[in-house]
C-alpha cells in the first residue's frame, strides 16, 4: 500500500494556528499537546533587502493522518481547516507530483 503524507506549500502558510487547534479537537488532545505545530522562521532581511519570514506547519509523532476521518471518506482535520489551503493529504507519489509542479518552497512530511 502506498504511503501517505502531508505536503505543505510553505510559501503561503500564514501562521494562523488553525491546524493546531483543529488537530487538538479531532484527536481530543490536551492544551499543551500538538499533533501538528506551526513553526516560525522569524523575519529578517536577505542580502538584497527582500524580507524573509516563513511559517511552516509540520505533523508530530501524535499525528495519525486522521485515519478515522479518512476511512469515513473525509480528509485530515488540519487539511480541511487550513485557511490558506496550503496543506494537502495524499500518497507520497501524488504529493511529490504536486510539489514538483509548484517548484518552490514545498515540503512533504510523514509523521
Amino acid at each position: 500500500m502506498a504511503m501517505n503524507g502531508l505536503y505543505i506549500d510553505y510559501e503561503y502558510c500564514t501562521g494562523c494556528h488553525s491546524c493546531e487547534i483543529a488537530c487538538r479537537n479531532e484527536m481530543e488532545l490536551g492544551i499543551n499537546d500538538f499533533g501538528i505545530k506551526v513553526l516560525e522562521d522569524k523575519p529578517r532581511q536577505n542580502p538584497d533587502g527582500a524580507w524573509h519570514w516563513d511559517y511552516i506547519a509540520y505533523p508530530t509523532e501524535l499525528c495519525d493522518l486522521c485515519t478515522e476521518r479518512v476511512e469515513a471518506g473525509g480528509i485530515p482535520a488540519c487539511v480541511m481547516h487550513c485557511q490558506a489551503k496550503v496543506l494537502y493529504y495524499g500518497t507520497l507519489d501524488e504529493l511529490t507530483a504536486q510539489m514538483e509542479s509548484k517548484g518552490s518552497k514545498g515540503a512533504i512530511f510523514i509523521p
Binding site: S18, E20, I31
Partner: protein
C-alpha cells in the same frame, strides 16, 4: 438623500437568489445519536459578519464537536482559531449562564446574586420607565462595540426598547467603519466597496463572469487576521496562488502579508493621505486612467488632479518617509494593472486626516475604471438590515407598520416609541458634528463623554452595554469613562462573561446566547455589500442564556408593550425586522447559504438608483470626486493632506526627548476579537501577554530585550506590555496590542481584572477629532518606553490620580489651533423649521 433600503429591496426582490443545489447536505441531519447542524457563524463571541461555515455535532443537547463546513462556498471547510476554540468559549467555567443582580452601592465589588429572568428584566424595565418619566428617554444610553452581531441590536435597544436616540459607539471619533461608510455614501451613494473575489457567485472563481484582480492595493489593513467587515481575508492568498494576483501593501509594519507583496510601502503612521494623493498624481501624470469612465461616470476629476499637483511623489516621499522611486513604481504597478482592486482598512478611519485619505482611495477605485467591474472593487447596494438611518421621507406617525424594510428609526417614530423631536434635537453631539449625525445612527461619542461629565446639554441617568466593554477596549481616556459611567442611576449589560465595565458599573447582568445558540442571519458587510445571506441556526441551549432578540422582546414588552407584544417568538421578529421579505426564515435556514449573485456594473443597469436610471445615487448622479456632500458640511470637497495631531511634523519639540516614539495600535491578531477571547485557553496560549513591537535598534538604545516588560507613556497615561523586538517595525515607531485585560485576575476593584495595566487606549485622548467629528489618534500617537520589572502596577486612578481633564489638552497648542471649539460649528436648525417643510426629507433638511 436616496432611500437605499427601498432601492435594495426593489432590486433584490427582482434578482433571483441562489440557494444551494439539490445534493447539498440539509441544515440538520441525524447520524446515530448525534445531530449535525450546518450553520454560519457571527457572534457572540465577537466577529465580523464573515459568516464562516460550521458543522456542529450535538448529542443529548450538548455540543460534542465544532468543525468547518466543507460545503460553505466561501470558507470551504476552513476556520480560524476562534471558531475552532468555540466549544472552550461556550462551556467555559467562567461563563455567566443565569441573570444576576447587584446593589447599586456595591458597584466594583464581587457581590453578584443570581436572580430570575423575570426579576432581572423587571429591574431593567422599571428603572428605564422611571427614568424616562422623570428625566426623559434621551437620558438613557445604549453602548455597542464594533463589528459584532450586537451592532444590529444596540440601536434597536435604544430606539425601540427605550425610545432614546443615544446609542453610543464609544471609540473617539466613531473611527471604525463609520468614516469609510461616510466616504462611500457621500461620493458614490452606494453600500460599501470591497475587493472582488467572486464572493457573490455560487460557482465562485469558476463563474464565467469573474476575472481575477491583477493587483490588489491593501491599504492600512491586515485582512488575514481581521476579516473585515465580512471580507474573507484568506481569499487574497487563494487569488495569489491561483491567479497570481499581486499585492501592494501600505502599512507602517512589515506584516507577513507585506513579505508576500509585490510592493510594501512602509509609511510613517498617519501620513498616508499624502501617499494616496501622490498615487493619483502618478496615475494622471502617466495617463493610467480610464477616460471613458471618468467622462461618463465621475464628477470633479479635473479639480481632483489640480489638487494633487501639490503632492508629487517627491513631496509625499518626504512626508511618508519612504523612497520616492518606490511611490512611482508602486503607483505604476497599480495603474497598469487590469483589473485593479482596492482594500481599504481601519487605518483610513483612525486618523484625523482619514476622510481625505478615504476620498483618495475612492478615487483610486474609480478612475482606473474598475469600480464594480470584474476583478475590480465591487459596490454594494446597501441592503442595510434595517439599521441605517434613512432619508426619513416615509416617516409619518399615522402610517401603519406594514413594511418589513422599515429602518429601526422609522419603526420607532411610526410607533410613537420615540418622538421626532427627541431624535432630531436630543442626539448628543450631532448639532456640533452634523456630518457624523447624518450617516451614523448614534450620538457622537466624544461629545457624549463631555455630556456625562458636565451634565450639558442634559444629565445622563442610565446606560446599557450590549456586548461592549468600552473601558477595556474602544474608549480613549478610559478612566474618564469609568468615572462618568459609575455615576449613572442604573446600568446593565447583556454579555457572556464578567468584564471590567460590568464589574465596575453595572447593576444587572443578562446572559446572552452565542452564535450557535440562537437563530439569526449573517450578511457580509452588515448588508451594505452582500456576498451571501447566511443562516445562524440554533444548535444547543446553554444554561438560561437567551438571544439578544429574546432579551429585547422581554424588556420591550415591559417598556413599549404595544409594539413588542406583536412578536411572540424570535422568528416573528426576525421575519419582521431582521430578514428581508424575499427571504423568509424557513428558506434562509434550509438554504444555510443563499448567495446574492449580484452582477457587475450595477451603475450601468440602474440598480443603484431609486428611479432605476443608470448612474449613482448622488447629487450629480456620478461618483463625486469633488464631493458636494462634504462641502455641505463645510469640509473641503477635495482631499488635502493635514499632518496628524500627534507626530513628528506637529510636535518636533516634544518628540525630541519626552515622547520620542510614534505609537500605533489596533492591529488584529487571529486569536482575539478586540477585548474578547482572553479567557479561552487555546487562544490565550498563542498570546499570553500583550506585546509592544519595537525595532531592534530602538530596543538596544533603551536597554530593552525581547520579553522584557516595558512601560509605555503618553501625555495621557501609562501602561505595561511585553517587548517583542522585531526588525519589521519602522525605527522610531512602536506598535502596541490593544484591548488587553486579565479575566483570570481579581475581578473586584481596585484591580478590576487588570483593566488599567495594559490597555493601550489609556494613552489615547478623546476629542481629537477632524472637523467632521470623525477620526482619532489610535494610528499615530506619541509615546516613550522604558524597561520595568513586571506588569504589577495596577494603575488604579485612586493610586495614581491619572484621570485627565479636558484642560490637559491645552498643553498642546497646535492641536488647539485646528480642533473644533466646544461651541457648535453650525447652529442647529430649530425643530419648528424642520417640521415646517414636510416635502423635504427630514435628514436632508437637518443636513442643509
Amino acid at each position: 438623500m436616496i432611500d437605499m433600503n427601498k432601492v435594495a429591496s426593489d432590486v433584490l426582490a427582482a434578482t433571483p437568489k441562489q440557494g444551494p443545489s439539490e445534493n447539498m447536505t440539509p441544515w440538520k441531519t441525524q447520524n446515530g445519536d448525534e445531530t449535525i447542524f450546518r450553520t454560519c457563524a457571527w457572534s457572540p463571541p465577537g466577529c465580523h459578519p464573515v459568516g464562516c461555515g460550521l458543522r456542529v455535532h450535538v448529542k443529548d443537547g450538548v455540543i460534542q464537536k465544532i468543525e468547518g463546513d466543507p460545503e460553505h462556498p466561501i470558507t470551504r471547510g476552513s476556520l480560524c482559531p476562534r471558531c475552532l476554540a468555540l466549544k472552550e468559549y461556550i462551556y467555559h467555567p467562567d461563563r455567566i449562564v443565569h441573570p444576576m443582580k447587584r446593589k447599586r452601592e456595591d458597584r466594583g465589588k464581587d457581590t453578584w446574586e443570581v436572580c430570575s429572568w423575570d426579576e432581572a428584566t423587571d429591574l431593567v424595565a422599571n428603572a428605564a420607565n422611571e427614568i424616562r418619566e422623570k428625566y426623559g428617554p434621551e437620558t438613557i444610553a445604549v453602548f455597542g462595540g464594533t463589528g459584532r452581531e450586537a451592532n444590529n441590536w444596540y440601536p434597536q435597544w435604544a430606539n425601540l426598547v427605550f425610545g432614546t436616540p443615544n446609542s453610543i459607539y464609544a471609540q473617539p471619533g466613531w473611527s471604525c467603519y463609520g468614516p469609510r461608510m461616510t466616504n462611500t455614501a457621500f461620493m458614490m451613494g452606494g453600500g460599501y466597496p470591497e475587493i472582488d473575489y467572486a464572493c457573490k457567485f455560487p460557482l465562485r472563481y469558476d463563474d464565467p463572469r469573474f476575472v481575477a484582480p491583477e493587483v490588489v492595493l491593501v491599504w492600512g489593513k491586515e485582512p488575514l487576521r481581521s476579516n473585515p467587515d465580512g471580507l474573507y481575508g484568506h481569499a487574497l492568498i487563494e487569488m495569489a496562488r491561483r491567479f497570481g494576483t499581486k499585492i501592494i501593501c501600505v502599512d507602517p509594519r512589515v506584516t507577513w502579508l507585506a513579505t508576500r507583496s509585490a510592493e510594501h510601502l512602509q509609511v510613517q503612521p498617519g501620513t498616508d493621505t499624502a501617499l494616496a494623493m501622490a498615487f493619483i498624481y502618478v496615475l494622471a501624470h502617466d495617463d493610467l486612467v480610464d477616460h471613458d469612465f471618468i467622462e461618463g461616470w465621475t464628477y470633479g476629476y479635473d479639480e481632483l488632479i489640480e489638487r494633487v499637483q501639490d503632492m508629487p511623489p517627491s513631496r509625499a516621499a518626504e512626508i511618508c518617509k519612504i523612497p520616492e522611486e518606490q511611490i512611482w513604481r508602486a503607483a505604476r504597478l497599480f495603474g497598469n494593472a487590469k483589473p485593479s482592486s482596492v482594500a481599504w482598512g481601519l487605518a483610513t478611519d483612525e486618523n484625523t486626516n482619514g476622510a481625505q485619505l478615504g476620498m483618495c482611495l475612492v478615487a483610486l477605485m474609480c478612475i482606473t475604471g474598475f469600480l464594480d467591474a470584474p476583478g475590480g472593487t465591487t459596490l454594494g447596494m446597501g441592503d442595510d438590515q434595517g439599521n441605517v438611518v434613512r432619508d426619513g421621507g416615509a416617516i409619518s406617525a399615522d402610517e401603519k407598520v406594514d413594511d418589513g424594510t422599515d429602518s429601526t428609526l422609522e419603526l420607532a417614530l411610526k410607533n410613537g416609541i420615540m418622538s421626532p423631536e427627541t431624535w432630531f434635537t436630543k442626539r448628543i453631539g450631532t448639532d456640533k458634528y452634523p456630518c457624523v449625525g447624518s450617516v451614523m445612527w448614534t450620538a457622537q461619542p466624544d461629545e457624549f463623554l463631555k455630556a456625562c461629565e458636565t451634565g450639558k446639554p442634559y444629565k445622563m441617568h442610565m446606560c446599557q452595554f450590549v456586548s461592549s466593554n468600552p473601558i477595556s477596549c474602544i474608549a480613549g481616556e478610559p478612566q474618564r469613562w469609568w468615572k462618568a459611567l459609575r455615576e449613572m442611576d442604573f446600568n446593565f449589560a447583556c454579555d457572556l462573561f464578567m468584564n471590567p465595565v460590568i464589574m465596575a458599573c453595572c447593576d444587572v447582568f443578562l446572559p446572552v446566547a452565542s452564535t450557535i445558540e440562537h437563530d439569526g442571519m449573517v450578511v457580509t458587510h452588515y448588508g451594505l455589500n452582500s456576498s451571501f445571506y447566511g443562516a445562524e441556526n440554533k444548535c444547543a441551549q446553554v444554561g438560561e442564556c437567551k438571544s439578544d432578540i429574546e432579551i429585547m422582546r422581554m424588556v420591550g414588552k415591559k417598556t413599549f408593550p404595544d409594539f413588542w407584544n406583536r412578536f411572540d417568538t424570535d422568528e416573528d421578529y426576525n421575519n419582521f425586522h431582521v430578514l428581508r421579505s424575499w427571504l423568509p426564515w424557513e428558506t434562509l435556514r434550509s438554504n444555510v447559504v443563499t448567495m446574492s449573485d449580484e452582477d457587475y456594473f450595477k451603475y450601468k443597469t440602474g440598480m443603484l438608483r431609486p428611479d432605476h436610471q443608470p448612474g449613482f445615487p448622488t447629487q450629480t448622479g456620478r461618483v463625486e470626486l469633488y464631493s458636494y456632500a462634504y462641502a455641505n458640511f463645510e469640509e473641503d470637497p477635495l482631499p488635502y493632506f493635514e499632518p496628524c495631531a500627534y507626530g513628528p511634523i506637529t510636535m518636533p519639540e516634544m518628540m525630541k526627548e519626552e515622547y520620542p516614539f510614534t505609537l500605533t495600535t489596533g492591529s488584529r491578531r487571529q486569536e482575539f476579537f478586540h477585548s474578547e477571547h482572553k479567557q479561552v485557553p487555546s487562544l490565550r496560549q498563542i498570546s499570553p501577554f500583550p506585546e509592544i513591537d519595537i525595532n531592534p535598534a530602538d530596543a538596544e538604545k533603551y536597554d530593552i530585550e525581547n520579553g522584557d516588560w516595558v512601560e509605555i507613556t503618553s501625555p495621557y497615561g501609562h501602561v505595561r506590555q511585553k517587548a517583542r523586538v522585531v526588525p519589521t517595525m519602522k525605527p522610531g515607531v512602536v506598535h502596541a496590542m490593544h484591548a488587553f485585560w486579565y479575566p483570570e485576575e481579581e475581578a473586584a476593584e481596585p484591580n478590576l481584572m487588570g483593566a488599567w495595566k495594559s490597555n493601550i487606549n489609556m494613552l489615547m485622548p478623546t476629542s481629537v477629532n477632524a472637523k467632521s467629528g470623525f477620526g482619532n489618534t489610535f494610528k499615530s500617537m506619541i509615546c516613550n518606553i522604558k524597561k520595568v520589572e513586571d506588569n504589577h502596577d495596577t494603575n488604579h486612578p485612586d493610586k495614581h490620580g491619572i484621570i485627565l481633564e479636558r484642560s490637559r489638552q491645552a498643553e498642546f497648542d497646535y492641536q488647539q489651533t485646528w480642533r473644533p471649539t466646544d461651541t457648535p460649528v453650525v447652529d442647529p436648525i430649530p425643530y419648528d423649521e424642520i417640521i415646517s417643510t414636510p416635502d423635504t426629507p427630514l435628514i436632508d433638511n437637518i443636513v442643509k
